[in-house]
Amino acid sequence: MKKILIVDDEPNIVMSLEYIFTKEDFEVFIARDGAEAIEIVENSMPDIILLDIMMPNVDGYQVLNYLKNSETLRKIKVIFLSAKNKSIDIELGLQLGADKYISKPFSVKYLVKEVKELLNKKIK
């Protein structure tokens, strides 16, 4: 069973994502901000993270940085989910090492497809 971590401070977004990925047979973890996310990553080593950018305290960029600076956590796939959708934000996100950048609002179906594709690539 693949592990997915959802990081967002919007309860309703979290609720919908939790439902859909549980249904897709993922083990779902949830974090309300960056600090919580890092704690979960260290303990449970998810395969993929859905990461919001604008969060209180520790934001999405910082979380990504933390991952990319660690030998073991570097391989975890990261998808940015953000309402910031100017090309410069997307460019920055990808430069920092995110695997995908999906703008809010997004289609759930599309998100699930992207997540599966990313994980399959990893297996190959």
Binding site: N12, Y19, M54, P56, A83, K104
Partner: protein
């Protein structure tokens, strides 16, 4: 020491200096070349051989008076952060390359004025250069034990050194045709020499004070028993005080206006911010240099008492008389480096002046106008190179043919007094817009004549050691015309006396003529630009108002002739891009005319540039009022443009945030409804939960939209306030009602004890909205047990303060102001997203401000936050 050895050392030393200059020129982008320390050290070209030998000589005969030469600069330099910045900005903005250019441009590119300034500078500085050569020659003779200086020029080492210095200055000084470019090679070499001369001087000072004697006290004790000691060391009452004051003032002027100082401080300045280092580092350098002067002087007086020894040479003779040849050599090299820095920079600055403000505008313009560009660039450089050689050779011959038997100090001070004649025109031009070119010319000429009469003539006569009727009895035997006691003024020494009278007349005539005769419109325009430099700096090419007829083709032709095809093309392309002008335009506008003039100024000086451009354009007169109006309008247009851009930026940022805030609830709505649409197996409870989330997120969207519109209406003043007389207590109570149940649920106590009632005019709905916002803010922070929210009013004479206070954790101090910003979310609130739109407090602020009240936040003891707003107590 053998001459051969000393000459070899000199050549090795020069080779090192040449190499450093060469290296710096090659690595002109390096951090070693471009830093505030190199810049500050290069300013120390102020300390010449005079400082090395003359200060000591003066200290030996007149006590502390030598300090005035450094006291002036030390006092004035801290003001440079403003004064010099202004001068540097103007110079860079107009591609000014010399002091003469600066003054001539300020008074409307006045060709004659530029030439006059050049002449004064040459008269003042060439003897000063001679003096440096003399110092080199004399000290060389002392250290090699030559008794008589050779009579034939070809046998004189100093001659060859002078030629080498000329080659150095000519080679590194004319790398660019544009003289307003920096000369990084020379400057780096000069900075190095500044270190050398200081270190060597400190070494000898240390040696004399602590090796030859047992410290300062010992020297003092031995020197103070010498005859005349007391009289030397005192300031000598009121008269002496005046002399001190005037000498300090004189050196204040000199540190800015000496051509070599103007060159290193203004022209060679790379960044304005270097001045921040200069204002403390340079005075410190000068102080260090002077620490040992008085001790060396006293020591010399003690050691050489009853001997006929030139006090100017104490620094060198002290180690020699103790058979310490090595230290003597260091002193010689230190003095040598001080002398050659001065010779190189002065000759460079003077040569640029000579070529750009005298030779080219008066002799070569016509020839240049017909020649090809490469030839012209080469000719300009050649004129400058020849000028450098000429100046140094004339200085050499001057030293050879006149017996400069006076102490070093007096010749140096005469050149200071001559340079000071430029001060009224220079500083007046900088701060007084009425200062006119006629005033400047008459002032300078008068001051010059007085200096000649009261100082140059009697001094020359004196130095030939003939007593004359003229000096003793005055011209035609008239008492009040005695050159050293003009109009019976007896309190001053010759130098300060001349300085006093010349500057007094100079300034008076400059002001009187300027007040009575209005300058041409051209100089009035430049006066505006110089005096109000900060106001007009942003206008750049637009700052000079120009009306007339000109064609791009003609201007291009002139530019090409001096800058060459490529540089002209590049410069014009830049210009077109900067102002977004169509290249096909045939008619040149004012900006192009000014831009071209500036381009040429760096190469051939402002006066020539003006003449050349004027020859291809037809200019019309503009009246002063018209001029000021146009300048003001251009300025305003620029400012409002900036404001518009700023407002645009703020609007963009606001829209970005609004978009972000709207997208968040929509994301939830979309995700949840997509699931409901696709998934048929979802159980009823979850379905209900999802649907109610969709409802609340939709409410959030609509609340946000209402708030944004509200804010917009209030901010633009589209919504009028509905002012009525209300009771503030009633309004508060109405606002609290919706919170009562919530308070009970969350266990929060609402305290209303501090409310006093008053009747006043306000828009009740709006104020209720504010109170509700403040209350929800307070409730948001009330998460602990025993939470309490207090509402109170405080009635003053002309206003009412209404405060809402909680006892939560408080707001971080740096956030106290920003919580009223749109969409600001405090760091300290609960982790979950707040219910609010992020606009509540911003709207409240807008409402209070449209009531002419104030709103602010503060933290209270022991913890908690108080938000207070005021309403003016207007009875109607």
């Amino acid at each position: 020491m053998s001459s051969f050895l000393v000459i070899s050392i000199i050549f090795v030393y020069l080779a090192v200096i040449f190499y450093v200059a060469y290296w710096a020129e090659k690595n002109s982008k390096s951090g070693w070349v471009n830093n505030p320390y190199i810049y500050t050290l290069s300013l120390a070209v102020y300390c010449t051989a005079w400082t090395y030998y003359g200060s000591v000589g003066l200290a030996a005969t007149s006590g502390l008076k030598f300090l005035t030469i450094y006291l002036g600069p030390i006092i004035i330099i801290p003001t440079w952060i403003i004064l010099m910045r202004k001068i540097i900005r103007i110079s860079k903005g107009n591609k000014i390359s010399t002091l003469a250019d600066f003054i001539s441009l300020r008074y409307g590119n006045d060709r004659f004025l530029g030439a006059l300034v050049t002449l004064i500078c040459i008269l003042a500085i060439v003897p000063y250069i001679s003096l440096q050569l003399k110092a080199i020659s004399e000290t060389f003779n002392v250290i090699t034990n030559h008794k008589i200086s050779p009579n034939s020029i070809l046998d004189d080492t100093t001659f060859y050194i002078a030629i080498l210095l000329a080659i150095f200055a000519a080679f590194f000084g004319t790398q660019h045709t544009d003289a307003s470019e920096r000369h990084k090679g020379i400057i780096t070499a000069i900075a190095l020499e500044s270190i050398i001369k200081l270190v060597f001087f400190l070494v000898i000072g240390f040696y004399v004070t602590f090796y030859l004697f047992n410290g300062p006290v010992d020297i003092y004790n031995k020197a103070s028993v010498l005859p005349n000691f007391e009289t030397q060391q005192t300031i000598d009452g009121l008269n002496g005080g005046f002399n001190w004051f005037l000498l300090s003032l004189l050196s204040m002027i000199a540190i800015v206006l000496l051509p070599r100082q103007f060159q290193v401080t203004v022209i060679e300045n790379e960044r304005e911010k270097y001045l921040k280092k200069v204002i403390w580092l340079f005075p410190l350098y000068l102080l260090l240099f002077n620490v040992f002067v008085i001790f060396i002087a006293w020591a010399g007086n003690v050691v050489f008492q009853n001997q006929q020894v030139d006090a100017d040479l104490f620094t060198l003779l002290l180690p020699l008389s103790n058979n310490n040849e090595f230290l003597a050599l260091l002193v010689f090299l230190g003095g040598f480096s001080a002398a050659i820095s001065m010779v190189v920079i002065s000759s460079l600055a003077l040569a640029t002046m000579l070529s750009n403000n005298l030779i080219i505008p008066y002799g070569f313009l016509r020839r240049f106008s017909n020649a090809e560009s490469e030839e012209n660039a080469e000719s300009i450089k050649n004129i400058r190179r020849i000028s450098i050689f000429l100046l140094i050779i004339i200085a050499y011959l001057f030293y050879k043919s006149f017996t400069l038997d006076r102490p070093l100090v007096s010749i140096g001070l005469i050149s200071f007094v001559l340079i000071a004649q430029l001060a009224p025109a220079f500083f007046g031009g900088l701060f007084w817009r009425r200062g006119s070119s006629k005033g400047a010319k008459y002032g300078i000429i008068t001051g010059f004549i007085i200096t000649v009469y009261t100082l140059l003539i009697p001094f020359t006569i004196d130095s030939q050691s003939i007593t004359t009727f003229f000096v003793n009895e005055g011209l035609f035997g008239i008492e009040i015309l005695k050159p050293y006691e003009l109009f019976g003024l007896q309190i001053f020494e010759p130098v300060t006396h001349a300085f006093f009278w010349s500057l007094l007349f100079n300034t008076t005539i400059y002001s009187l003529v300027s007040v009575n005769k209005l300058g041409s419109y051209r100089e009035r325009n430049f006066a505006e630009m110089f005096v109000y430099s900060t106001k007009y700096a942003g206008l750049q090419e637009g700052a000079y108002v120009w009306k007339g007829e000109a064609y791009v083709r003609d201007i291009r032709k002139v530019l090409t002739r001096f800058l060459g095809e490529n540089r002209t093309e590049r410069a014009l392309n830049l210009f077109y891009m900067k102002y977004d002008i169509d290249k096909k335009n045939q008619v040149a506008d004012a900006r192009l005319v000014n831009f071209s003039e500036k381009l040429l100024t760096g190469n051939i000086g402002s006066a020539s540039a003006r003449i050349l451009i004027a020859s291809v354009v037809k200019e019309e007169e503009i009246s002063l009022t018209e001029l000021l109006n146009i300048l003001d309008e251009t300025q305003k247009a620029k400012e409002s443009n900036k404001e518009l851009k700023e407002r645009d930026k703020q609007k963009d940022e606001f829209l970005d945030t609004v978009a972000h805030e709207l997208k968040t609830p929509i994301t939830s709505i979309r995700a949840l409804s997509e699931i409901l649409l696709e998934d048929d197996e979802i159980d009823t409870d979850l379905k209900k939960k999802f649907l109610s989330s969709i409802v609340s997120e939709s409410e959030r969207v609509s609340r946000l939209i209402t708030n944004i519109l509200d804010l917009e209406k209030l901010a633009t003043g589209k919504e009028k306030l509905d002012l009525n007389e209300n009771s503030i207590k009633n309004t508060i109570l109405k606002s609290i009602d919706p919170f009562r149940q919530l308070a009970v649920n969350k266990g929060i106590k609402i305290s209303l004890d501090g409310i006093n009632d008053v009747e006043m005019f306000y828009d009740e709905d709006r104020i209720q909205q504010v109170i509700v916002n403040l209350l929800s803010n307070a409730f948001k922070f009330s998460t602990e047990e025993n939470s309490e929210v207090k509402i109170s009013t405080h009635i003053n004479q002309n206003k009412v303060e209404i405060a809402v206070e909680d006892n939560g954790k408080g707001i971080e101090i740096d956030e106290l102001m920003s919580i009223f910003d749109k969409f600001y979310q405090s760091k300290n609130q609960t982790i979950l997203k707040p219910i609010g739109s992020g606009l509540g407090l911003a709207i409240s602020k807008q409402i209070i401000e449209s009531h002419n009240g104030k709103i602010w936040a503060e933290n209270v003891n022991p913890h908690g936050t108080r938000l207070t707003f005021t309403l003016p107590l207007n009875k109607k």
